[in-house]
Amino acid sequence: MNLTLQIWRQENAQTKGKIVEYPIQDISPDMSFLEMLDILNRQLITNGDTPVAFDHDCREGICGSCSLYINGEAHGPDRRVTTCQLHMRKFKDGDTIFIEPFRADAFPVIKDLVVDRSAFDRIQHAGGFISVNTSGNTQDGNSIPISKHDADEAMDAATCIGCGACVASCKNSSAMLFVGAKVSQYALLPQGQIEAPDRVQNMVAQMDLEGFGNCTNTGACEVECPKGISLENIARMNLELIKSSIKS
């Protein structure tokens, strides 16, 4: 496959970026998208140019490191996959592919396609934890009966890898799907009840502080989420906040 890549290049957070065109030849449809970028970078290095910076780590859809807004969609045109799981067979010979970083003011560009997603870490620090006795007398988690339905829902919420596709896809740069998932995974379990009222208040407050936009329920985040996190989690977070506010 021969392709034309339109890639966002930006030296650092202080400089302005721009789209730069790169033709690339002989790409196998069996390659992953990141392997295609590896080949481009090898060419750039061979020619004495600066390689394109992009985030990646596990390359098997688990770590949430890879990002990229590909042809107008977070993680590209495929569904329920991260960029590292996207294959070149999803594109056609002769295609022009736009590759941009996840855009939100809360995710400032570090370089080229790499953005700073530490805002998510700070939201997690604000309340994404539970109190556990670690003295050596820790109670076995399985000794607390939990309904299958709640366990499944909590597990589904916990599959969020914090990649930020929800923010990138949302027209408002809202992080509510991420925060909703993190609130839900604890709200549904007995272990999460101790901090439940404070958790939702603190995580939402931190989310607002980071400068994310407000959710208008377009549902784009749910569609683009590589882990299929449902909008139900945002509704649960809203309800948790209402309950917590009434209690306080």
């Binding site: 941009e100 809360a106 939402v204």
Partner: protein, 227 residues
């Protein structure tokens, strides 16, 4: 409890609560207006009751005005804040791949509804206030005293074609706004459960049937005037 409305989610909930109130108001407005097609006498009676009842005039009407102003003002504030949370836009964005046009453009459908509402207020509400509270005639009767004036006034309003067209366009935008807004309001207050799919169906029906009903009323009176 008041602290909740300082948060992004709180503002979203406040938007939803005002939306619930406005959706209920639209329903009762439609229920009264459709009477003008079914039975003009009943329409006159109900209009007179709504126009002169102190509870409606001095309690519900101010709440309605507050609800309308709040919904629009908060909508514009949130839109401005949301826009400012992404200062560099995508060179290529395929919004249609993951969301509907109406869900992404509530500010535009809402903006057109606001323009329509201003015209509607100038058309109906301000003359009504003038008759009742400036001229001081709360009888609701025609000048010759032969009956209530409401039905005749309504028919008279729909003589010019431009106004009928304007109303039809206004209600198309209302329909577009409700197609997303109805279910969005429920999601905002945390209602996403096993009933959501049924509610989505009901919301779509509401968003189409009610504005269409208003269009039918406008066309009915326009065509009646032609004969």
């Amino acid at each position: 409890m008041s602290g909740i409305f300082k948060s992004s989610i709180g503002r979203k909930i406040a938007m939803a609560l005002s939306a619930f109130f406005l959706m209920f108001f639209i329903l009762q407005h439609f229920a009264i207006n459709i009477l003008s097609v079914i039975n003009p006498d009943t329409f006159n009676e109900v209009s007179h009751f709504m126009g002169t009842n102190p509870l409606v005039q001095f309690a519900l009407q101010p709440i309605l005005i507050f609800g309308v102003i709040f919904h629009f003002t908060m909508g514009f504030i949130l839109e401005f804040k949301n826009k400012s949370s992404r200062s560099v836009n995508y060179a290529k964005n395929n919004g249609n791949a993951n969301s509907t046009w109406v869900s992404r453009n509530m500010i535009y459908s809402g903006g057109f509804i606001l323009v329509f509402l201003i015209i509607h207020f100038i058309d109906f509400w301000i003359p009504e206030l003038n008759i009742k509270y400036v001229i001081g005639d709360s009888s609701g009767l025609l000048q010759d005293g032969s009956g209530y004036r409401y039905f005749e006034e309504l028919q008279h309003k729909f003589i010019p074609l431009w106004r009928v067209v304007l109303y039809c366009i206004g209600f198309v935008f209302l329909s577009l706004h409700l197609l997303h807004g109805f279910n969005s309001a429920f999601q905002s207050v945390g209602a996403n459960n096993k009933y959501t799919q049924s509610l989505k169906g009901f919301g779509k029906a509401y968003a189409i049937v009610i504005p269409l009903g208003f269009i039918v009323i406008a066309l009915f009176h326009y065509l009646n005037n032609l004969h």
